[in-house]
Amino acid sequence: LGGSSDDNGGGDETTNVAIVSSPAGFDDNAFNDLALKGIENAQEEHDIELNRVEETQQAQYQSTQSELAQSGEYDLIVLVSYNHTEALTQNATDYPDQYWMLINDHVDEANVAGYIWANHQMSYLAGVLAGTMTTEGFSDGGGETVPESAQIGFVGGVDESLINAYERSYVAGAEWVTNDVEVNVGYIGNYTDTDTAADIASSQYDAGADIVYHAAAAAGRGVFEAAQADGRYAIGVDSDQSVALPDFQDVVLGSAVKYIDEGTQTAATAVAEDDFESIAGNNTLSLAEEAIDCVIGQAFEGSLPAAVDQNMQRAKQGILDGDITVPCGATGCD
């Protein structure tokens, strides 16, 4: 902010947006950064002033939110992750004139726009990619597969229901391809310890997995490092990580992506254009809205076996048609 918000002079009106991080903080190369990126993209079209607030203690969200709302300076406050939900339930009614955007959850108030991306669907697709590749004989870039065994891995950040949903959907996707696929699962215990992430992935590669998908935010880089060290493959999450972390493009077969950036861009734009109503309420963004996908890593475009594309298309169609039921929801399983 740097004190520039009090320029009520100047011709055209500035839109002020604040974004508050999840407990993982910014610079996670995933979730938080994507949300941020969307607003930055919106800045190119509109005069938007952005205040990025990093707060890693959930206990502080109540006061951080109300501090921001109380200032009256912000046209939109973006809250990353469902850790904000409880605090927002209070603050949305305390500050009825304040517009809020909540990522990954929803609060039933007219001034809140809830955005939930279908983490489960994209993870299912990641499972399809892994399940297909593990039985294909493939060797390119920095790794190779073991076609004789159908074994893959998953590395999660914290063992909590949000990430469990990634895991179960991923497993389901892989099983949809190869019924008897074996999946090694490991959790780090946090979203920051790259070293442990690498150790877990390594252990899984050792045990025979040839592709590991991660849902571990910043720590996920460790999985890629292990893939490079062991000559195996990995699947990224949230954004196309073969692009976000180009060092690892030789092992990142693909990424389960959700276009959070498009979501925040839409929201920021809507507010800048005085049209909050268009986004208010609960927005579930799934395959149907083309808001999630599983993309192939930039080094592997066109080089993967044809079965990948076929299976991927069939799976997407199945999900859209309702023939395939992805277990779990966006933030947990029942």
Binding site: A24, D159, T192, D193, D206, A207
Partner: protein, 334 residues
């Protein structure tokens, strides 16, 4: 004590009827060694300080300094395409920088008689603050981009041998360095005059003083050494991980604290401390193996196993005898 842990481990494995071969792979062993190295280095430094009568509770902070300065130097010297030489230069440079910090710390606690626990905590807070801050200044993010990780030392031919090949002849040079440091530290402590002086300084500084040896100098050397070793530990952690993570409790994530536990556990003997570090590294990796082979326990609880083991073992077998004059500043004219 090691035997005790081993016994508990074996009993547990027998009791749960675990598949030993899948659990104790070569990869597991070499990952345990890698995980142990930074902890062992930190522990050895810490025990020197404590033996000399100064509790350096700030080793966690020094580790963060070591990690961030190594990352920064690697990046400043070699950019994103840094090679092995750059990494080694960065490690050396980092040790030099951390040693300056360690000198300042030593002056504060020895010359100015700062409360050792408070000053040590302060170093930790400083690490938590300035570590990520440096990252933000350099990379505009609390995490560094991918830098470079240390390459294993591979002896052609021998590394092909079963088990020992992968364990001993395809090994991180930093693990070897740690082993070397351990032995040298042991020899110095128990077989050189300087080692005698360290012990005397911690037990009865007056006796050392009246023997004509400056207690201050002995303590300075030990405390500076402890800072440098913790810094080196951080550097080793970074060199194995290949990038710096500053979010959360940073990539060091409590390893410094475990280092303190390790030397208490190892009863202030450098070899004991290294074995304890290996034990903690091993327990951590064992916990990962459990996950990998799908032993279905709540991960958050399984993660607690090493901590619980420390408590049980400490209670049943090990009461450590703390140096008699630990924490007392020494004035020769008193």
């Amino acid at each position: 004590m090691g035997a005790a842990i081993g016994f508990v481990g074996v009993a547990l494995i027998g009791w749960l009827d675990l598949p030993l071969a899948e659990l104790l792979t070569v990869g597991f062993l070499s990952r345990s060694l890698q995980a142990a190295a930074p902890i062992a280095l930190t522990a050895i430094g810490g025990l020197y300080a404590e033996k000399s009568g100064v509790f350096n509770i700030g080793v966690e902070g020094f580790m963060i300094f070591g990690a961030v300065t190594t990352a920064a130097l690697t990046w400043l010297i070699g950019g994103e395409t840094a090679g092995q030489n750059t990494l080694w230069m960065a490690i050396l440079g980092s040790v030099a920088i951390v040693s300056v910090a360690a000198v300042l710390f030593a002056v504060l606690v020895i010359r100015y008689k700062a409360d050792q626990i408070v000053a040590g905590l302060a170093v930790w807070f400083l690490g938590l603050g300035f570590g990520p801050f440096v990252a933000v200044l350099l990379w505009d993010s609390q995490n560094s981009p991918g830098l470079v990780s240390v390459e294993n030392l591979t002896v052609p031919g021998l590394s092909e041998l079963p088990i020992v090949g992968a364990l001993l002849f395809d090994i991180s040079p930093l693990v070897l360095l740690t082993a070397f440091v351990t032995i040298v530290a042991w020899a110095i402590l128990y077989h050189t005059r300087y080692g005698y002086w360290i012990q005397a300084a911690g037990e009865n500084p007056e006796a050392l003083d009246t023997a004509g040896v400056s207690v201050g100098r002995v303590r300075y050397a030990a405390v500076i050494f402890s800072g440098v070793m913790a810094g080196l530990g951080g550097a080793v952690l970074l060199a194995h991980a290949g990038s710096f993570t500053g979010t959360g409790d940073t990539m060091v994530n409590g390893r410094g604290w475990i280092g303190i536990v390790a030397y208490l556990f190892g009863n202030y003997n450098p070899i004991g401390a290294a074995v304890a570090a290996l034990l903690f590294g091993g327990l951590d990796m064992l916990q990962i193996q459990f996950q990998t082979i799908g032993i279905d326990l709540p991960n958050r609880l399984v993660n607690l196993f090493p901590y619980l083991a420390v408590i049980v073992v400490l209670t049943m077998w090990g009461s450590t005898r703390v140096p008699a004059s630990l924490g007392d500043p020494y004035d020769s004219e008193e």
